[in-house]
């Protein structure tokens, strides 16, 4: 495989309603940002680019099949090769990885990955219904199809297994909303308190409205290229581009119906799922005791797909101690609970310790006053952008939005792009992006690094 560089990215403003543009024009907004960033006009970029990958989740929201080719056409990318990818909430992350594959394999030197969703064409309750159609329509949807309900069942199990509390969930919401306060692309820029999270309307017990991401209209795009592609781009734009390399990708899956998820033994967990930082005697003893208490893996409290995606990506990027070797993570926090579950899947802490990790301070940004009593210093800020909870979740764009923010973090250009340097992670050298589909069916993890 060849080295793949992530050279530029663009994001449209995410908003509850973007009636001012139809979806291909939203993608154009993100694409034009890239052109501005590179200092290049479209005809020149078109001359250089080898192809694209399009990302959007639902044909229902747009009531438009073949929406990918409409965006391709509107961007002026025809007749270059392209295809659409779809994998629920992980669609954007899958798109990023398909672009990576196109470049790494030698098929393309320069690939544009773009994604979008325009969810405002229907009311929120109908949008919930469309999204719920991503669950099994024979057995899950008819019982009360509602993804917030599905995730809420997962969190009640997490609470029962590990004693996770609603205050710990609320810490994630406070962190991500306050981070987004400094992100002009975010949909919800709020300074929030624990009480405000808990006092907001209950949606699916114990998740309140402020524990849950919102529906959005938006688009995002990323340019990936090979070393040869980088040379071509640099010659065309007349400047040296920062070397952000995609050093590893990983992807995992799990049973569509969470009811079907296995309840594995301790031995199988260590055979198939454990991370390098869980191989020491202390970790083995911890898990042995957990199993003795009745813990089984992954059950419905843990996302095995997220663990397998992390395991593969870490192996490819030679990461053995994720908390200390990754400088920041943009992860899929459609729910505060799923951020806590993902801490564990990604090995930032052991399974069962996610709640305590959420309140430790380790995942917070340095230099921001959250109004919380946090015992530990930040180590690996999680969702410095504000994540899905605050930025919004225009599904097909979300995983690519994470990539854009990661590129800017590693380039050290957050201050430039946000007009505010507060969210720049100091000395960011390596970041991870994590994209997740309904109840953890598909999960992608990609590692980006600033090449030394």
């Amino acid at each position: 495989m060849r080295a793949v560089y992530a050279v530029s990215g663009g994001v449209s403003k995410f908003s509850k309603v973007r009636h001012d543009k139809v979806f291909p024009a939203l993608v154009k907004e993100a694409y034009d940002y890239i052109l501005g960033d590179l200092g290049m006009e479209h005809p020149k970029f078109f001359e250089l680019i080898d192809g694209t990958v399009a990302s959007y989740f639902s044909d229902h929201f747009t009531r438009q099949l073949m929406a990918g080719i409409i965006a391709q056409d509107y961007l002026g990318m025809c007749p270059k090769p392209s295809h659409r990818v779809e994998g629920g909430g992980a669609t954007g992350g899958i798109c990023f990885q398909e672009g990576w594959k196109a470049v790494a394999s030698g098929y393309m030197d320069i690939c544009l990955c773009y994604g979008f969703e325009q969810m405002s064409h229907v009311e929120t309750w109908k949008g919930n219904e469309f999204i719920a159609l991503a669950s099994d329509v024979s057995f899950d949807y008819p019982v009360g199809g509602f993804y917030s309900g599905y995730y809420a069942m997962m969190v009640t199990r997490h609470m029962a297994e590990f004693g996770t509390t609603i205050e710990q969930l609320a810490h994630v919401s406070v962190k991500n909303h306050i981070n987004a306060y400094h992100n002009p692309y975010a949909q919800k820029r709020l300074r929030m308190t624990i009480d405000e999270v808990r006092d907001s309307p209950m949606v699916a017990w114990p998740l309140t409205r402020n524990d849950i991401c919102v529906m959005s209209d938006g688009a995002a795009a990323v340019v990936l290229c090979s070393e040869d592609g980088l040379v071509k781009l640099e010659q065309a734009c007349g400047k040296r581009l920062p070397r952000v390399v995609v050093s590893g990708i990983g992807r995992g899956t799990d049973a569509m119906r969470m009811a079907d998820r296995p309840h594995q033994s301790y031995d199988d967990f260590y055979r198939y799922n454990a991370l390098p930082n869980e191989m020491d005697d202390d970790a083995r003893q911890y898990y042995k005791e957990l199993w003795q208490l009745g813990f089984r893996y992954p059950g419905i409290h843990s996302f095995r797909a997220g663990r397998m995606g992390s395991r593969e990506a870490y192996k490819n990027a030679s990461i053995t101690d994720p908390l200390n070797e990754i400088d920041f993570i943009e992860l899929h926090d459609a729910y505060t609970s799923s951020e806590i579950q993902t801490y564990e899947d990604m090995g930032l802490c052991k399974y069962g310790k996610g709640g305590a990790f959420a309140t430790s301070g380790k995942a917070f940004m340095p230099g921001i006053n959250y109004g919380l009593d946090l015992p530990d210093e930040p180590i690996c800020p999680v969702n410095p952008s504000g994540g899905l909870i605050a930025c919004g979740h225009p599904v097909g764009a979300t995983g690519l939005m994470q990539a854009v923010f990661a590129i800017w973090q590693l380039q050290g250009t957050i201050g430039h792009h946000f007009g505010d340097p507060t969210l720049q992670v100091p000395n960011a050298r390596r970041g991870a992006i994590h994209s997740h589909a309904g109840t953890g069916t598909y999960v992608t993890v990609s590692i980006l690094e600033l090449e030394q």
Partner: protein, 180 residues
């Protein structure tokens, strides 16, 4: 012989979105159109499906007869509480096995909001049930419990299935009550 007259004028009607006047510049200067507010129209969209339950059909036939069947791998005995035609480990076809729908709450939530189709039923309680005969779970509704009194203590409580009197051929033909 006279020729049939074919009208070149489209028929006008008042169905769907009908507009009588949209403001538009009267002169040749169209530059103000770039500042025009977007036009948003509303229209219905509905579909009738002929949906097949395929190999899972016996499960729904069982529910309509007030019986509960699960899927068991014939050699390993691994049993799915939710119908599954083939085992995920061996790839072998599963067998139908009847069990008494009595188990324990493994997880739950109370939905105070939801998809459009279920809004009239809010708040409703979703549970994942663990049957002792099965290795996996079954999702259903819990009734007879006050949804405003949600508590993590509900997890572990014993439940038993109850059938709708008039089958709708949906998984909700069975729902659950607490065993007091």
């Amino acid at each position: 012989m006279s020729e049939k007259k074919i009208s070149p004028i489209i028929d006008e009607n008042l169905e769907g979105t009908t507009v009588f006047n949209i403001p538009f510049p009267t002169g040749n200067d169209l530059s103000s159109l770039k500042k025009m507010s977007p036009i948003v129209i509303r229209f219905p969209y509905s579909i009738e499906y002929n949906y097949s339950y395929g190999q899972d059909s016996p499960f729904f036939a069982a529910l309509s007869n007030k019986r509960f069947i699960v899927s068991r791998e014939p050699q390993s005995g691994y049993t799915y509480a939710t119908s599954r035609g083939h085992d995920m480990y061996s790839g072998r076809e599963t067998d139908w096995v009847e069990i008494e729908p009595r188990g324990h709450i493994h997880a739950f939530t109370v939905c105070h909001f939801g998809s459009e189709a279920f809004l009239p039923e809010c708040p409703f309680i979703l549970i994942q049930v663990k049957f002792k005969e099965c290795d996996t779970l079954f999702m259903g509704r819990l009734l007879g419990v006050d949804p405003e009194k949600a508590s993590i203590d509900w997890i572990g409580k014993e439940v038993k299935g109850r059938y709708r009197r008039n089958s709708k051929l949906q998984p909700t033909d069975i729902y659950f009550n607490l065993v007091e």
